[in-house]
């Protein structure tokens, strides 16, 4: 029992990490809470659902198409709702437009797919195997492998690819990066694109593991990404990993051993406690106030 819960927790944690990365990256560059993140990922997941259910598309192709569409939507939101506000306006303003954008996407999703919970087609084999007397479903291992693979791929991209390096530069200091000849607007749009794609990948994996997709998961995803990012330390990749894992594991233990209807309240309580004790998160560096 204990190890089953732990394994599911790790799997959910890896998925949360994927969703958190995109959000945390945007925050580290623009200091903007992207409220639309969760709604973008659920949009991609819905697209994938439609492609699989209605058009019987090849799962790999369906996931790719929906991830790209999710990325395009995320960058579109950036160009329309955030870009104009970047210079000159207070950050709070773009946070509120982000909220507005989230509502627009959420409502559009609701108009197209409704707010019912729908069965997500299972795209992975339902086999199980035995290790040390534990029954482990194949699905969980595959999902875990995909999630971890994507995280590693993204880390390598940031470290070695010129575009990845450009993202790191911009997150360090925008004016300097711009002086070095890095196209700021393009880089930021790319950050949103990649963040959206990773989010959609996370959303699809989550829906696959629970065999369900619903509108409410979008907003919950936003909150989860916030919470995980803050717990781990916002803006760092390691922080997203620590926060996502911790949240995934804690949530599953609370759900199983305490009560499933108090799972979310306790998660939020955890967030409040972390904010009060160490607002910069477990892995975050202390922020200094400029005088």
């Amino acid at each position: 029992m204990f190890f089953d819960v732990l394994l599911i927790g790790i799997m959910v944690g890896a998925i949360y990490t994927l969703v958190t990365i995109g959000y945390s990256m945007v925050y580290s560059i623009l200091k903007l809470m992207n409220f639309a993140h969760g709604d973008v990922y659920i949009f991609g997941t819905f697209i994938c659902y439609t492609l699989l259910e209605k058009y019987q598309l090849n799962p790999v192709l369906a996931i790719l198409v929906s991830a790209v569409l999710g990325g395009i939507l995320a960058s579109f939101v950036e160009i329309v709702a955030y870009r104009r506000l970047r210079a000159g306006q207070h950050r709070m303003i773009s946070m509120i437009t982000a909220l507005g954008a989230a509502y627009v996407i959420q409502n559009s999703n609701e108009l197209k797919w409704g707010n019912q919970v729908m069965a997500f087609p299972s795209i992975l084999s339902a086999k199980t195997f035995q290790v040390f007397g534990l029954t482990i479903p194949m699905t969980q291992i595959i999902i875990l492998a995909i999630a971890v693979g994507l995280i590693i791929l993204f880390t390598l991209f940031l470290k070695y690819h010129p575009y990845g390096k450009a993202i790191l530069c911009v997150s360090e200091d925008i004016p300097t990066a711009s002086l070095m000849g890095i196209p700021i607007n393009k880089t930021i749009t790319m950050v949103y694109f990649i963040g959206g794609m990773l989010g959609v990948a996370g959303g699809i994996l989550y829906s696959t593991s629970y065999n369900a997709v619903s509108l409410a998961m979008g907003f919950r995803g936003t909150i989860i990404a916030f919470t995980a990012a803050v717990i781990g330390g916002i803006g760092s990749l390691g922080g997203a990993l620590v926060g996502g894992m911790l949240l995934g594991i804690c949530e599953n233990f609370i759900g199983v051993y305490v009560s499933s209807s108090y799972r979310d309240p306790i998660t939020f309580l955890l967030l409040i406690v972390i904010l009060l004790v160490k607002p910069t998160g477990i892995m975050g560096a202390a922020e200094q106030t400029k005088v």
């Binding site: 709070m92 946070m95 507005g100 509502y103 409502n107 108009l111 909150i223 916030f226 919470t227 209807s261």
Partner: protein, 333 residues
């Protein structure tokens, strides 16, 4: 001679002052009339407008006006982005609902207690502003709002879960039993008048000037010897107090409270009302309330597009006029 006294002397010589709007606004007769006539209009309104449907819309406007004026204190005067205002509204609503239906309290004591409980929770949530700032505080308020709603939904023994508390009896204040839409209109009007008067007294006091100074420049204000942390906490608490009053009004007005009355959407709607009207100006949010309520009513036929329309208005207003329609200042700092 100083410029000021020179000007004063010129007026004394009796040159004819042209009747512009500015001089008119200084005329005491006009000032009294400008205050009394709308006030009279408000009092007589239910006798002119007997249609309960329209009166109902106006009652909701009053409810949101109270909420938004409180939120404006937090958002526009203290500069704190709170996305948990619906939770304080809900605290007021549930306090009244539970005290009236289970403990048999009178409405007036429920109203006061609702406000006080919201105030206490507001101060409690405001305490972290000393340490947690900006976006993290916003996150804190979201978390608080969601905890409130989820607990109200899960704690079936106390709050009756998602079904909510139903059958709140007709309230009475000092023998005046409030039954009809018109009665509720007057109750709302009294609450709104109370809110307006107390808030304008507060904002124009020494206390008010201090927190306006904090909004303009927190560092400079703290150097001037203003205890910024304490002021922010108190302002946050006071803003929440009005939300508690509004919640109490909601409970008796619609005779039920359910967790879905107090969702995050509701907090967002209040924020957008404040922003459309204009932050940082005492009465500007009321314009936002009127515009947004009328828009919601107008689009009722296509209510499934409601959040889409609200979202578009939110983005459009902030992109093109971030200070709102009547506002004086956008976010600073």
């Amino acid at each position: 001679m100083k410029p000021g006294t020179q000007k004063h002397g010129k007026q004394q010589t009796g040159t004819i002052i042209p009747m512009t709007f500015k001089t008119l606004a200084k005329n005491p007769v006009f000032k009294t009339a400008a205050f009394l006539l709308p006030a009279l209009g408000c009092v007589l309104l239910p006798h002119v407008m007997t249609d309960t449907y329209y009166l109902g819309i106006i009652n909701y406007m009053i409810l949101y006006a109270i909420l938004c004026m409180g939120l404006n204190l937090i958002l526009g005067y203290a500069g704190l982005l709170s996305l948990g205002h619906a939770a304080f509204y809900g605290l007021g609503g549930y306090t009244t609902a539970i005290l009236i239906t289970r403990c048999g309290f009178g409405f007036l004591s429920c109203l006061i207690l609702s406000g006080i409980i919201a105030l206490l929770f507001g101060i409690l949530l405001g305490l972290p502003t000393r340490k947690v700032r900006g976006d993290y505080f916003c996150l804190l308020t979201i978390a608080f709002g969601e905890i409130f709603r989820l607990v109200a939904q899960a704690w079936i023994g106390f709050t009756n879960g998602a079904m909510g508390i139903v059958g709140i009896p007709i309230p009475a204040i000092l023998g005046w039993s409030i039954r009809t839409e018109a009665d509720f209109y007057y109750l709302g009007l009294i609450l709104l008048a109370f809110t307006s008067i107390t808030l304008s007294l507060l904002v124009n006091s020494k206390f008010g000037r201090a927190f306006i100074a904090i909004r303009e420049d927190e560092l400079a204000a703290s150097v001037m010897g203003i205890n910024t942390a304490v002021y922010k906490i108190i302002v946050f608490g006071i803003g929440c107090f009005y939300a508690g009053l509004a919640g109490s009004y909601l409970a008796v007005y619609q005779t039920t409270v359910t967790p879905s009355n107090f969702r995050l959407e509701e907090s967002c709607l209040m924020i957008i009302m404040v922003i459309v009207g204009g932050m940082g100006s005492l009465f500007a949010p009321i314009a936002g309330v009127i515009i947004m309520t009328l828009a919601t009513e107008y689009f009722r036929g296509i209510s499934e597009y409601r959040m889409l329309i609200i979202g578009v208005i939110m983005v459009a207003v902030l992109l093109f006029r971030p200070q709102g329609i009547f506002g004086t200042s956008a976010f600073k700092g």
